[in-house]
């Protein structure tokens, strides 16, 4: 347990956090705007990975699989929101239950289309190298993950803070009724945000598929972890999702390395405590 161990674990934790941020930020935004927890978010993650696999098998291009998987899952999310969630109006519990129903449907569909085998998404050669920084061997792919998540995070933040669209989203998060009152089309906003959330989750699936693998059951494994991120950070807050992702990523890595027997406990117990003390999460708005 020297410095090297701590540094490597921290680096692994941060790169895992990058992946968690992609999944968590979408979940968080969806909750903020629609006040629902999307229990099919893990399915978007898994389906994103599967679609990417299909793209790679047919075209052989990993770079092409990223946008194609993300966009096709965004379309799935968009249709789901328009056809099934929107007609229920404002009824969070029913909407949440509906998303579980879909999670089961997606699970079966994935099993039928892509079989029950475990797959790995192989990133291009250039990203599988390792670089040495100060005596530490760092896989380039994990650096790429961190960079991607950081870029997306900054991009999202700029959109939310600097554009008119972003202002409308923030207004909807704060008070949907008031936002409608001043002429913001909250229905369109929730459609946009739901699709965006699905897109980010699918992107996470493609990127994460390289070191988590893609296999049936990953959807319901990813979901509670994404929840932990959002709950710790506070729902509806991008900055919160980033902090939450970092905390969960590090807690998960160090938990598994230091106390393997209770590692999931070290992940979910702090989350339950935070929720009990501050139900809206660390950075959530009332």
């Amino acid at each position: 347990m020297n410095t090297q161990f701590w540094l490597i674990q921290a680096f692994n934790g941060i790169s895992y956090a990058a992946l968690l941020f992609l999944v968590g930020s979408g979940l968080s935004l969806i909750f903020g705007v629609m006040r629902i927890v999307n229990l099919s978010h893990g399915s978007y993650f898994l389906l994103g990975g599967y679609v990417a696999l299909s793209v790679i098998w047919t075209t052989g291009s990993w770079a092409l699989s990223l946008p194609l998987a993300a966009l096709s899952i965004a379309a799935v999310g968009l249709l789901m929101e328009r056809i099934f969630l929107r007609p229920l109006g404002f009824d969070p519990l029913r909407q949440v239950l509906l998303t579980v129903g879909f999670a089961f449907l997606f699970q079966q569909a994935a099993l039928d289309i892509w079989t029950g085998n475990n797959f790995d998404i192989n990133p291009p050669e250039a990203l599988t190298k390792t670089i040495v920084v100060g005596g530490l061997f760092l896989p380039l792919y994990r650096i790429f993950m961190i960079a991607t998540a950081a870029a997306i995070g900054i991009g999202l933040w700029l959109i939310m803070e600097k554009t008119r669209m972003g202002a409308a989203v923030r207004a909807t998060v704060d008070d949907a009724q008031m936002a409608r009152g001043v002429g913001i089309d909250t229905s369109r906003i929730s459609m946009f945000i739901f699709a965006l959330g699905a897109l980010l989750a699918a992107l996470g699936g493609v990127i994460g598929g390289a070191f988590l693998g893609i296999y049936p059951g990953l959807d319901f494994e990813m979901l509670p972890i994404a929840f932990a991120v959002v709950i710790i950070g506070g729902m509806g807050s991008l900055g919160g999702a980033a902090i939450g992702a970092l905390l969960v990523g590090l807690a998960d890595n160090f938990g598994k390395a230091l106390f393997p027997e209770v590692s999931y406990f070290t992940l979910y117990a702090p989350m339950a405590l935070i929720l009990a003390v501050k139900p809206t999460g660390l950075f959530g708005r009332e």
Binding site: D91, P92, L93, F104, Y264
Partner: protein
């Protein structure tokens, strides 16, 4: 005869029918019904929270898990609970789950609505994480296999005997929970579901009401766990995982939240689809998923709400005819 009396009578008839018909069928149906009945105790406990108190719990599998693991660990390590001491295990199972619910409740009851859903999910995942990773106690991913069921005067290894035991526990649980929700305490829970603020203003300690309901529901979850361990013969993290909690919640909604017996119908349908349909067709999960989606979209009151809906439609159309008849006279 009042509406409530008719309903009670219908339930009694249905239960008698189950008790008479099921033992005379093949072992597949007996096992399936036993599973569904054991699980529906958990579903009813979800319903006490969801349907009567307005708290959507997404971590109820934790209580089933703790009861089931207790039974399995006592039976395999200490050979305890395989004779008359089975009844002690039942008591311990209920108590340990109630204690767990008392701890979890302290954290969860503060929240309501979707927040409650998420905090119970988090707590349920804590329990799952322990079951999954605490290899030395829980056997990790492999779980614990139980060798044989208890034997005391009667031999529970016999399917029909065991079915009647589970059926008995189920009927007693149903009666207890029915009494609970119709007691003044249960009425105030319904009041909290409808409008918590008003109940607070009326002087009710709503936190304590919800907390007690949460503990009672946890206790029934523990009972379901003890029975489940002996029904399935294996206890594994599968029993504590999120999807089990989701199943319990969806079964309650499918049958009709706030009806108790609706949960049994939900459980029977889901277990039937899962275990029977899965032997016939590979795409059974589409059917299950579609049943969930369609119920939530078109039957927010669940299957138990269908008669009520039909009656409403009839009275509505009846009224319209009345209006037509009266209209010419008044004009």
């Amino acid at each position: 005869m009042t509406g409530q009396a008719t309903k009670v009578l219908a339930v009694i008839v249905a239960l008698t029918a189950i008790a008479v018909i099921v033992p005379n069928t093949n072992s597949f149906v007996i096992l399936l019904t036993t599973r569904a009945l054991a699980f529906s105790i958990l579903v009813m406990s979800v319903d006490v929270l969801l349907g009567y108190t307005g708290l959507p719990s997404l971590g109820q599998a934790a209580y089933l898990g703790v009861g089931a693991y207790l039974t399995a660990i006592l039976a395999t390590r200490y050979q305890f609970g395989l004779g008359y001491d089975f009844w002690l295990v039942v008591v311990f199972g209920i108590l340990i789950a109630a204690v767990l619910a008392a701890v979890f409740g302290l954290l969860a009851i503060r929240a309501s609505g979707v927040y409650f859903l998420m905090i119970t999910l988090a707590l349920g995942q804590c329990a799952w994480g322990l079951a999954y990773r605490w290899n030395s106690l829980t056997g990790g991913d492999n779980g614990i296999n139980l060798r044989g069921r208890p034997k005391f005067g009667i031999d529970l290894a016999n399917e029909v005997t065991f079915f009647f035991l589970v059926f008995g526990f189920f009927v007693v649980s149903l009666l207890l929970m029915y009494t609970l929700v119709r007691s003044p305490f249960g009425r105030s829970l319904t009041g909290i579901r409808e409008r918590e603020l008003r109940m607070k203003i009326l002087g009710y300690n709503t936190w304590l009401h919800k907390y007690v309901a949460f503990i009672i529901a946890g206790g029934f979850g523990g009972l379901a766990g003890v029975l489940w361990a002996h029904t399935a013969g294996i206890v594994s993290p599968e029993n504590v995982v999120l999807t089990t909690s989701v199943d319990a919640l969806l079964m309650a909604v499918l049958g009709g939240a706030g009806t108790l017996v609706g949960g049994v119908i939900g459980a029977l349908i889901v277990f039937g689809l899962r275990e029977y349909l899965s032997t016939l067709v590979p795409w059974w999960q589409y059917v299950l998923g579609s049943v969930y989606v369609l119920t939530i979209l078109f039957l927010p009151t669940g299957l138990m709400g269908i008669p009520e809906r039909i009656r409403q439609r009839q009275t509505l159309s009846g009224k319209r005819e009345d209006v037509k008849e009266i209209a010419p006279v008044t004009s």
